[in-house]
């Protein structure tokens, strides 16, 4: 049987599109396709605001970008990956420039860079404050140039076809018609994005349900460092809409209910009128979010119907700077909070934002399963370790998207076509989706109810601070939800654009991912980066300078193992900010 495609990319975000273009450029005769559950330009990358880091300015160096990333990760990243990353990031950003990305410029026409949290130098490229939007549309429009890149728009992948120890394609559901079909390929690249939706309050889009992580995990690929969930310190209450870190990089202040710049109380440096790199408001996200919780405990936050908030103060920046550098922030505040940051304080609170962990890959995006690659937020290479620095993720999508694309192309050239058992596997999956789900009439549990239960369990047990007790409670609640989810109520049995079936599939994916997060968090008895255990408040390099790997054991349960991190040039040290 001839494969439908040489390489199939799951996901049309920055990582997926970059991979597809890399393959098309490498060898136009390769048959590559992108399958995405939304039209590519709707992918979540579109929401990224602040920017993309790449050492490029004359006063900057690759070494410094690497060091900031390593220390930002609390030494949990793989340093060989970081070194490759910092070298290739500026090249990738330049490549995007050549493809038409409207990067903001200096008066003389050169690329402009801005400061970002945890970075010692100004090295974040930006396109006003719609960086992800411009990057994604540039990539998507550029990808149209390569007519050999086929697309399956609005197809939802439900399973990886694995046989004979290698990936041979996927089964997917065409949303418009309800058709279920195998799409075979010699190699598959997972670029399915993050999983913020397992939490109730998140900046992530509705589509970020961790599908890619669940697909890989069920196919026997371990998930790495899942306990590290990044909270962003400044989300708008209720909607969770992100106020980009750039707002603080341009000079915004965080104030508690007394109008006091409280970060100075948390070992993040002294307040200065001008923003200072790696200090105060420009400290790393984990530390800022943790400081918020302490302020809340001291009763110094402001109560609102949507929970406690602090204030982001941009008023002193003035209308002109805000309109030039942060127009989208102003637009979002006006449209969604009905307030004008030029004159008013913006209420903000920490919000789940980014998944450091993901599908375990090597430095070329290869997973332990032959033929399966992963890149972008779905993957864990890892350059982010215990805490991702703002603006490292977009370039990560580019660098490792391209790498995974090239590696998959190389693999596909020598790989065999799919074997005969694929059809049978696909038939089983189709049965599971139709008689087992869409056509079923005996379900009782409401999908929305289960989802709310899961999100609440995650917030209560695996939030900014965790304990063994909270995590055990969460694990038990998730177990119960998993069991109840066996009987999800589906009352829409139609084929055309059945979003209820979609919601059910996404919920199962999220439950598996949520359990992985809890399992990994329970095992790591230390505090590092975004993983803060109140019962183990110190970092413990002796036992835990290692990646957690959550496997699926024979019974389908989550099993945790450890893999040492790769250290090349920067031995573990203390993370200091503001000094």
């Amino acid at each position: 049987m001839r494969a439908d495609h040489d390489i199939l990319v799951i996901g049309g975000g920055a990582a997926g599109l970059r991979a597809a273009i890399a393959i098309a450029e490498l060898d136009p005769s390769l048959r590559v396709a992108v399958v995405s559950k939304v039209y590519p330009m709707r992918s979540h990358t579109v929401s990224a605001e602040g920017g993309a880091a790449g050492a490029f300015a004359s006063d900057d160096s690759l070494e410094e970008h690497a060091y900031d990333t390593v220390s930002g990760s609390d030494w949990l990243c793989d340093q060989d990956a970081v070194e490759a990353f910092v070298v290739e990031a500026p090249r990738e950003l330049l490549q995007l420039e050549h493809w038409g990305c409207p990067w903001s410029r200096q008066p003389d026409g050169h690329i402009a860079v801005r400061a970002f949290g945890g970075m010692k130098k100004k090295r974040t490229w930006f396109a006003a404050d719609k960086t992800g939007f411009h990057m994604l549309h540039t990539l998507f429009q550029t990808s149209l140039k390569y007519s050999e890149v086929a697309r399956y728009d609005e197809w939802f992948v439900t399973q990886l076809l694995v046989d004979d120890g290698r990936v041979q394609g996927v089964v997917a559901l065409e949303l418009a018609t309800g058709r279920i079909a195998p799409i075979t390929a010699k190699a598959v690249i997972l670029a399915g994005g993050g999983c913020g939706r397992v939490f109730p309050f998140t900046t992530n889009a509705n589509i970020n349900t961790g599908d890619g992580m669940a697909l890989a995990w069920r196919a026997g690929v371990p998930l790495k460092d899942m306990e590290f969930v990044q909270y962003h310190p400044t989300g708008l209450p209720f909607t969770g809409i992100l106020i980009t870190e750039a707002a603080r990089a341009e000079g915004g202040w965080l104030l508690n209910k007394d109008g006091y710049r409280y970060l100075q109380d948390y070992d993040l440096g002294k307040p200065t009128p001008e923003p200072e790199l790696r200090s105060m408001e420009l400290g790393p996200r984990d530390r800022l979010s943790q400081a918020f919780v302490h302020e809340e405990e001291k009763g110094r936050t402001i109560g609102t119907p949507y929970g406690p908030v602090v204030h982001l103060d941009l008023r002193h920046l003035g209308a002109k700077l805000i309109d030039d550098k942060l127009p989208f922030v102003r637009e979002l505040c006006l449209k969604y909070e009905n307030l004008d940051p030029v004159r008013e304080l913006v209420p903000v609170r920490p919000v789940v934002h980014y998944m450091m962990g993901g599908v375990h890959t090597d430095i070329d995006g290869a997973t332990p399963l032959a033929g399966l690659y992963a890149a972008g937020e779905v993957a864990c290479v890892s350059i982010n370790g215990a805490n991702r620095l703002g603006s490292n993720s977009l370039p990560e999508c580019l660098v490792f998207g391209a790498r995974a694309g090239r590696a998959a192309a190389l693999y596909a050239a020598g790989a065999a076509d799919p074997g005969p058992s694929v059809a049978a596997l696909a038939r089983d999956e189709e049965r599971r989706l139709t008689s087992g789900l869409r056509d079923r009439t005996d379900g009782r549990e409401s999908i929305a109810g289960l989802r709310t239960g899961m999100q609440q369990a995650m917030e209560d047990s695996a939030g900014i601070f965790r304990t063994e007790e909270s995590l055990l409670g969460g694990a038990a609640r998730l177990r119960e939800l998993q069991e109840r989810s066996e009987s999800m109520a589906v009352d829409d049995h139609s084929r055309a654009f059945n979003t209820q079936v979609l919601a059910a599939l996404e919920l199962s994916n999220m439950l598996d991912v949520a359990e992985a997060i809890i399992a990994a968090a329970l095992r790591r008895e230390e505090s590092r980066g975004a993983h803060q255990r109140l019962d183990f408040p110190a970092r413990d390099d002796e036992s835990y300078l290692a990646h957690s790997l959550v496997h699926r054991d024979e019974t389908g349960a989550h099993k945790v193992e450890y893999l040492p991190v790769t250290v090349t040039r920067w031995p573990p040290g203390e993370r200091v900010y503001g000094r």
Binding site: G178, A423, R427
Partner: protein
Amino acid sequence: MSEPAQQTQRPYRPEISRLWWLRRRSYVFFVLRELSSIFVAWSVVFLLLLVRALAQGEAQFRAFLDWAAGPWVVALDVLTLAFLVLHAVTWFNLTPAATVVKLRGRRVPPRAIAGGAYAAWVAVTALVVVLVVTR
């Protein structure tokens, strides 16, 4: 293995009625704007009739003026004037959207372009009035 999409699953394509432009106020306005062209054409015809009468002689000119002062013709011409003003105003308002003028590398603000168009209108009007009315 994938079953063909069921025959019953057809996207719905609504019919568009001939009166689609009554659906929204802005569409009605648009159609009125487009209809102004008829009155532009009528203005030309009227002016040519006037010139022809002038050329033919005093009697024909008088007859033309009498005809033009008749109630139906006056009503039509009032309507014509209204549509011409609509045409002029919409035209000048849209001018800046279609033209980008740059002066020393800076884009002339749209308001200035529209302002220029209105100024030209005033100037032309004044010129014509002066030519016709003053002795």
